[in-house]
Amino acid sequence: GAGVSQTPSNKVTEKGKYVELRCDPISGHTALYWYRQSLGQGPEFLIYFQGTGAADDSGLPNDRFFAVRPEGSVSTLKIQRTERGDSAVYLCASSLSPTGTGTQYFGPGTRLLVL
């Protein structure tokens, strides 16, 4: 596709439920990033993949959060036992280069609301 796509665009769930958020990066981009953006704040790094492997998962807040990228393209962010504090916009970005100078192209985000 022309850009990074994320599905669903909006997700409403109940506390304690499990959710999956999907990211389709730009074709050919080997680096993929997940960020979380709360209202009034900038994006907060969660995890980044280089190919199929998680190169840095230091931003995952706890073991309820997990992400995979089994074929080095599409990635899924999984949240178990959701809590109200997980409500935020989850942004995905992809890049040709994993270094700090590589341009990251962001998707529109998935707005997660935990009731």
């Binding site: 931003g59 990251q104 529109p108």
Partner: protein, 111 residues
């Protein structure tokens, strides 16, 4: 922990005015990016600066990277309503994929 502080947090001006927003850190970054984000969308990259003292111009926008690579500024000349949005700065490191974002400056340009 590398932190980026942006100021002001909110800025409301009239069309045609000039403005400057700031991004400051106590840490050194190998590069610094400025993004603009509109409601309901992801951030869109405006510019990347990598050299201390570097100045880049993008039409009416002028970006400067501090000599010590710890701070940056964005100056907009003759602001237009289309400039309205959230301006985010982000710092990158040579050996790390992730970017560290500030909390942004929300700019409103009134016609």
């Amino acid at each position: 922990t590398q932190l980026l502080e942006q100021s002001p947090q909110f800025l409301s001006i009239q069309e045609g005015e000039n403005l400057t927003v700031y991004c400051n850190s106590s840490s050194v970054f190998s590069s610094l990016q400025w993004y603009r984000q509109e409601p309901g969308e992801g951030p869109v990259l405006l510019v990347t600066v990598v050299t201390g003292g570097e100045v880049k111009k993008l039409k009416r926008l002028t970006f400067q990277f501090g000599d010590a690579r710890k701070d940056s500024s964005l100056h907009i000349t003759a602001a237009q309503p289309g400039d309205t949005g959230l301006y985010l700065c982000a710092g990158g490191s040579t050996n790390a994929g992730k970017s560290t974002f500030g909390d942004g400056t929300t700019l409103t340009v009134k016609p």
